[in-house]
Symmetry: C2
Subunit: 411 residues, 2 copies
Amino acid sequence: MTMAIVVQKYGGSSVGNPDKIKAIARRIVATREAGDDVVVVLSAMGDTTDDLIELAHEFTERPDERELDVLLSTGEIVSSTCLAIALRAMGQCAISLNGGQAGIQTDGCHSRAKIISVIPERVLRELENGNIVVVAGFQGIAEDMDVTTLGRGGSDTTAVALAISLGASICHIYTDVNGVYTADPRLITTARKLDEIDYDEMLELATYGARVLHSRAVEIGKCYDMPILVASSFSDARGTLIHGGIKMELRNKVRGIAHDMDVAKVTVRSVPDQPGIACAIFEPLADHGISVDTIVQNISTEGITDLTFTVSRNDLDRAVEIVGPICQSIGAKGHVSSLGLGKVSIVGTGMQNTPGYAARMFKALSDAGVNIELISTSEIRITCIIREEKVKEAVDALHRAFSLGEIDCDN
Amino acid sequence: MTMAIVVQKYGGSSVGNPDKIKAIARRIVATREAGDDVVVVLSAMGDTTDDLIELAHEFTERPDERELDVLLSTGEIVSSTCLAIALRAMGQCAISLNGGQAGIQTDGCHSRAKIISVIPERVLRELENGNIVVVAGFQGIAEDMDVTTLGRGGSDTTAVALAISLGASICHIYTDVNGVYTADPRLITTARKLDEIDYDEMLELATYGARVLHSRAVEIGKCYDMPILVASSFSDARGTLIHGGIKMELRNKVRGIAHDMDVAKVTVRSVPDQPGIACAIFEPLADHGISVDTIVQNISTEGITDLTFTVSRNDLDRAVEIVGPICQSIGAKGHVSSLGLGKVSIVGTGMQNTPGYAARMFKALSDAGVNIELISTSEIRITCIIREEKVKEAVDALHRAFSLGEIDCDN
């Protein structure tokens, strides 16, 4: 009988202190004793990453990104060695590997590196040696053994990428919530846990603010059809299985509400409406690794238009720095930016074939007195940019409007 | 004009907090601006290493050594990235490298790895790129990119090994004292700083307890004739130059007093006095990487003898574990061990050609009411093992007996 390989990822709150690490060590041993080979991917303990960022900021507002990556990578090395020490103290064979040793090879784009390939030989060898393999999440190596990090939430991506390259049967993502909910349960008390969800829906939820899982992890899970179970590391509740085999016709049309408080907006004013303008603005942003979210361009009046886009707040300063000189060169009148925005999205695969969802969303927001600043849609999602302070009310209104708190609701 | 390469090592108390790191960054920039290429080797910030050991002990009394090495290595990575961030924030070109990247290749003996070779290419390349190169001390890599540590004080060894392999002109060791003293100035207020000292004398002082510099660093410095300057990172005082060019005849005979409070003793009782017995005991200890210090074997009575040796206290448990089964197999009566010991040594190159130093040492200790438990000597050192609580009195008595507080004393 061949043993299956199971990859389990535990987030920062699951390894927040030595007692929690001991508790997850016991969970891992139980999985191991059930007969599977286990690869564990860990985040840094509790607030370690924030503490390290704060330390770097003692020296400058803008720490060098290469150095910051190396600094931050130590957080996951500490947690993974601690878990290996705990497992060995329980009589298990275990070994910790850093991202480079685990074969996570990335590009050289510090603070937001992309995985180029995973070379699984070392992990497989350690599994053959009978070890539980504990991998430091969030990190990889580029050329010259230079450490990179995958960006916030990157440990999820490490876990799913490893699961795929190892031919694992499933990737478990253990976190501080019981699974994926119809809305953030910290915001909406009637939010309901979903037993399963489609990759695309999860991707929209993750991208548009459901922090339970990193969107890049869902993306690669979808590409390679790797089932991902999101569950609590503190309970034995069932969790939410993200996979591709859900029967579409049987589901709610709207599956969940995502929200995000981390939105900043840049408007380039009075741009000449001619070919190449959008490219002139967005190519440099992409080159600097700034993820632009919603883009809206109004219809032009007398060959002049306004162009608005949103970025995460952390990226706003850099985005403005880049856009400033471009404004001059393309003959725009200038640019304005603002923080203090948020967004709410409704997500569901069936929506596109059933008219009226957008109208119902806008009416619910309007009834709740929420003004919509920008609108953006995909095939399975409708997103509104609103004032940050209205986000909670908006999520609440939408959750009720689409009856998401009810089991077997058919909105 | 070719620029010289200077290697500077800063200890844990010199990088204890962000302000101290900024202060040493300014010192380093001053060296750089004087025209030299600078390679910096750092220890972990303040008590980081102790804190990490404490963390590991949350899981077990005996953390796995491989895992502990990886855990501890993060301390030096944090301090070195912080310094690189600080230097870059000051407008300097700087890059941090971990031990592996800096080419520090070691054997696989975790927690006390020995440097096998230093491959200087990466450091040289970064210097050519105009960088100040900041290297995480104390660590290297063995096979499989597995991180090793060089043991306590290992950053000194990293610095001197790098200085040699880079062809540096000098290795600066910056610490929290002004140099090498005739005795520990924290213990003896009249202790005097030495302007220069010979490698061998420094080696004996370092090995026998003067914590200002790691003995392995002096050892390799001597082998390759690398001048080492020990000075304070907090002042511009002159420091002590360790080198090979000192005129022997002009010096004091006794140069300094070393002491050590970290001594444990094991006595194997009633050993048959026959060939191979010492080997049967000490070979397994060496195989387990336990450094045995003083060894004393009494003359035998009726073919039976006692054999006593000392180890550092941390190694005592393991030493006893190893010696236990050996006692049975060689037909010894048993073994006893004790903690609570210390040692004092007088060190000086001229001693051996001038009789009476040992006698004067024993008299001084006797006059101070200090009982001697074991005696060990080298060509330039006489060491007595005594009760730990008598160490301060003993050092004080010896410092006075050999007039070490007086400039140009000729004892």
